[in-house]
Structures are given as C-alpha cells and as structure tokens.
Symmetry: C2
Subunit: 355 residues, 2 copies
C-alpha cells in the first residue's frame, strides 16, 4: 500500500505529521523538535501579542532551519455585554479570593492583535500559517498569498471545508469530534450546536467534496491512526494531545498527569473556560458552571476572565480549577520526547504498510 501526499511537498516536510498549534502549550523546543524530526511543528500563537510571537519565532528559528507553521485564531464578532461580564465576575469571585487574584481588565482588541500577528509572520518569513475559528478576510489571504505563504484552514464539517477551499486555502484540516481543545467550528448547525462529526465520518465526506488536500485531526495518536486517516483519503494528520504529553511540551506536570490517568470517557465539550466550545477532561470548574444561570460571555472575554484563575490553580497543583484540554484517546498517550514519539509512529506506520 502506498499513499500519495501532495501536502508534504506543499508544506516542505518529509513526514505527513503536523503538530497542532496548541495555544498555551507549545514551546519553541516542541515546535523545533517536530520539524527537526521531519514533521511540521506549529507555534500555537492564538493568545500571543505581536511581540511575544516575534520572540517565539526568533527562538524557534535558532533551533531549526526547517519549515514550521504558526497557528492563529481568526477574530470573530463578539458581544461585550457589561452586565453579563459583571455577573460572571461575581460568579468567579470565590475562585479569585481563594487564589488571591484581582479582577482582570478586559481587552477586546482581537482584530488588531491578529493583524499585527499577520505582519510578524510575513516579516519573519514563516512558510505556513494555519487558522482556527474561521477564515480570515480576503485582504489578509491575498497579503499572505502574495508572499507565497501556504495557508491551512480548519473545518469541522463539509460546509466549512468547502468554505475554506472557496476562500483560497491551500489545504484544510478536518477536525473530528474526538479532537481535544477548541473546536475549530465557525458555523452552527440546526439546534444551535457546533458540528461534532467523528473523524471516521468526517474525513471521507470532506475528501469527496473538496479538491485541496485534507489533513485529518481528532483521536489520532499513533501509526494506526495515521494509516487509517490516509486510507480515508487524508494526505496528512494533525496531532495535538499526542504532542501535548511529550517532554518538550509546555503542559504542566499536573496537566500531563491528568491525561495519563484519564480514560476515553472523561472528556466533555465545554465553553466555560474560554467562551468557545472545547474538549477537555471534566472537572469541578465545569460542573459548578452547570448552576450558572446566565450566558457565558463570548470568546475572548470569558478566556480573559478565567485565565488568571486557571494559571494560578495549575501552579498550585489544583487540576479542578484549570482547563485540561484532551482528545478522546488518552490511553494511547506516550510520555517521551517528541522525536521519539515521531520515530515510534514512523516505525509503526511502516510495519502496518508492510503487512
């Protein structure tokens, strides 16, 4: 069995393996190690200011000469409702009190931060940019394409994949419901839900409906997942949780331990941490929010309201008050260097293909 993969050529990599741009958990070491091992490392720049992104890129470029990507969050229309924020601040007061934290000042300059990040990416000569939460404006796409930057979108449904292709994306990540962390969805389906389509269903249906290369994501942790994804028609895979537990990841020991001790049934989809739906291990913070009787403020407002609490809790070793993003395959996690992980995957892939 043999797979063609135009996408490795387009991305300038040897292996069809992309490390997901996990905002808050990627490190320059992780990104560089993945790229140096033949895959595509990705800086998770979703929460970065332009300055932070600039220095992060510089750092990665010191560690590798090979291509790596930057992942950005596409700004969306958010509603700032003062009473809504006030209500949430009141709800969060006991957490802040327990952790000795002040109420944060909300900054909704998402659009400006995004545009500045685009400029940084261009200045620093980044070859691949991936997007989450939607499709950037046509002017941004044209600006990046004029610099021969390869653009990768994210889709959680066939409709979103077609929208990515129409907008001029060079490839599209099809994110199955198994995936950990934020859902990349930017449409809602009937019944006000964002799409939650399993990878086994999503990949072939997306592949049949777009002509750009499809990158499979969601539940993929090893050689079995990679070969299965390519059998379904994907040309590469993107893996998040698999790299999150690697030695080079920025995830805390607390966080890695939580994944190591979790089962496939332990995650839920929740918007209580950031205002956008994401998959993570169920805990007390999520449970308590069941009793919250108002709308959760939109992203990025809720993200900023809870950010200090989550950071301080994690530092104090409290896994119940922080986000623990994880996909549905925690039992397949490996706790090794990202380079060993990739080696293991390559060996397993070869052994499956030679059977």
């Amino acid at each position: 069995m043999h797979f063609s993969s135009k996408v490795t050529e387009v991305l300038g990599i040897k292996l069809p393996i992309i490390q997901a741009g996990m905002a808050g958990s990627t490190t320059p070491e992780l990104v560089a190690t993945v790229s140096n091992s033949g895959g595509l490392g990705t800086i998770g720049a979703g929460y970065f200011t332009a300055n932070r992104l600039d220095s992060e890129i510089t750092y990665v470029q010191e560690l590798t000469d090979l291509p790596f990507a930057v992942n950005l969050f596409v700004p969306s229309e958010q509603l700032y409702v003062p009473e809504n924020v006030e209500h949430m601040n009141a709800w969060l007061k006991p957490y802040r009190r327990a952790l000795n934290l002040e109420e944060p000042v909300i900054d909704i300059s998402e659009e400006q931060q995004f545009n500045e990040a685009i400029n940084v990416v261009i200045e620093k000569g980044i070859p691949v940019v991936s997007f989450t939460f939607g499709i950037p404006k046509q002017s941004v796409i044209e600006k990046l394409k004029a610099r021969q930057i390869t653009l990768v979108g994210t889709a959680t449904s066939v409709e979103e994949a077609i929208a990515n292709e129409s907008a001029g994306m060079d490839a599209v990540i099809a994110q199955g419901s198994e995936a950990g962390g934020h859902r990349g969805s930017f449409t809602v389906t009937s019944g006000d839900h964002t799409p939650l389509i399993g990878t086994m269903s999503l990949i072939p249906q997306v592949v049949d409906n777009v002509s750009i290369p499809v990158i499979a994501a969601g539940g993929i942790m090893d050689g079995r997942g990679i070969v299965a994804s390519m059998v379904l028609g994907a040309e590469a895979v993107q893996m998040g949780t698999a790299f999150l537990t690697s030695e080079e990841s920025g995830a805390s020991t607390l966080y890695k331990n939580a994944i190591q001790h979790s089962k496939e049934t332990d995650t839920v989809i929740t918007n209580v941490f950031t205002g956008k739906p994401a998959r993570g291990i169920d805990n007390e913070f999520i449970h308590k929010m069941d009793y919250y009787d108002d709308d959760i403020p939109d992203y990025p407002i809720q993200n900023q309201l809870t950010n200090g609490i989550r950071k301080a809790a994690a530092q104090k070793g409290n896994a119940q008050w922080t986000h623990l993003w994880s996909g549905q395959s925690p039992r397949l996690s490996q706790f090794v260097s990202a380079s060993v992980l990739i080696d293991n995957i390559v060996k397993e892939t070869r052994s499956i293909l030679n059977k």
Copy 2:
C-alpha cells in the same frame, strides 16, 4: 497489506462485513442478501415477540443456507412512574388527535419476551446472537454457549468492552459516536452522559484492552471505512446506515429520502422517541420535546408511547413526527441492492489494499 481476521472464521462468513440488526428496518430479504453475498446478515429482533421472531427466522432460512445472526435488546431495569407516563400521554395528545390514534396500553414484559426469544434462537439453530444495551445474565450466556452459539456484545467504551469479554462474549462490537440508531451504552460516565467516543479513538483503545476480536461500528460506509477500521485493529465492521438505504431494507421511501438529502451535521442524539439515546436526523418532534418539562419515561415505555405516532406519521409521509435514525456519514449512502453495495465495497477494499 494483509489483515488477519479470526472473527470471519468464528462467524462462519467470507467477508468481515456485518449488517447491523436495525430493529424495525431489517427484512428477511436484506438479511439473506447480506449473508448470500458473503457477509453476516442480522435480524433486528429488538422489538419482536417470540412468534414474530420465529416466523422471521423461518423466512430468512428459506432464502439462505448461510449463517445469519439475530440481534436482541438486553432487558434493563426500567422505572414505571404512573404520573410520568400520564404527563407524557398529555404531551402526545395533539399528535394522537391529528393522527386519529388511541392511547396505547403499556406492556413491560421485556424480560419475558427476551427469554422467549432466547429459546426461539436455540430452537431454530441460529449460529450467532448479538446483544445491544448490555450483557445478558450469566444463565442465559451459559445456555447459549452450551449450544455452541457465538455471542457478540456491544460496547461504547473500553470499560464496556472489558465487561463483555469478562462475561464470556466471543467478540465485541465497538460502537463509535458516529453510529446511527440506538447507542449500545450500558454504563454512564461522569456528568450522567452515555459514552460518545469517536470510532477513530474507540477502536484502538478497545483493541489494546481486550483479547476477543473487535468489530468496528460507527460511520463506516465503504471500502475506505473498512480498511481504516482494520488498520485500527478491528477484525470486522458492522454497518447500519449503509444497509438501511439498500433496496432490500424495510425503511420507507420517506426515511431513505430523508437520509439521501441529509448532511453529516443533521443528526442529534435523542431519547425522545424510545427512552434510550439514539442518533437520528433532527426534526420537529425532537425540537418540540425541548419544551417538555419532565423526565422522558424509560425504555421501553417511551418507545411504546410514541410508536403508533411514528408509524402513522411515516405512513402519511410526515418525516417530522417519526424517528429517522442515521449515522454521521449520510453523504456516503448508496441506494442500490445490498449485494451491489457489498460488491462495491469489496472492489474498493481491494483497490486500496493493492495501492
């Protein structure tokens, strides 16, 4: 690439393809056609009385000499709460009035019906019995095993798969969240949810934790899905929606049309039709039930309360008041004979393996 499949030997079939026992939608023609084409047909006997099952088996045996299976629903503890049923009957009154229906008499002799079905299966020499909604009592398992009947359980999590193996099942169906129709779950996870693990995540984690053969289910519709499932470690697949739209299926034209015109994002998990969670195409009956302010009666009570409404609505061409079970891959549906479907799948599988 080559796959070993002990399970085809155990089941006495040529192809690692099992037609799911879709209660209410299998016909003797469908079951026999699948078995005559080299797969394993399954009578969906979940709702059958012993008499109905007896005659259905006789009919299939006239159409094929090859092995086929019977799928049974394992009885569960249900709570008959009179006020609860009264409340639901009041809610359903407008539907019954519009369709000229009487209030049904509730029959909760599930256990007795199940035990009678077990006897029928033994008398008629059925070689394979599969179970949904749990594991039968040890006495039932021993009775069937004494007759060399092969037993196949259903699991939606690793824990449920291990329970099936421990109870003596010969193989286990791992049902991913993509699957249409009833969830086979018999445990609940934290937060009171039944497991909804995507097939890409579920299969390898189950395979790593049991030593009986694993049969993959959920989102599998074609050769790509079969090879992908076997790469993940499954030894066979079970397909429901793929056979539901076949010419031999008992699904109405209304129902098949609904699947043909649906998208991967159109299904939801709901317990409003039967009292047990199942995946189907979203419609008015499900939506309206959002405003119902009491618990839905347990299965099989709710199933009996809504059954007449669903049948009558379907007969009148009203797809909004009936269940439309479907998996998450409706775009991959084929509207051909089950034998042509299997032929297509075999050709596609060969072409993938020879690449």
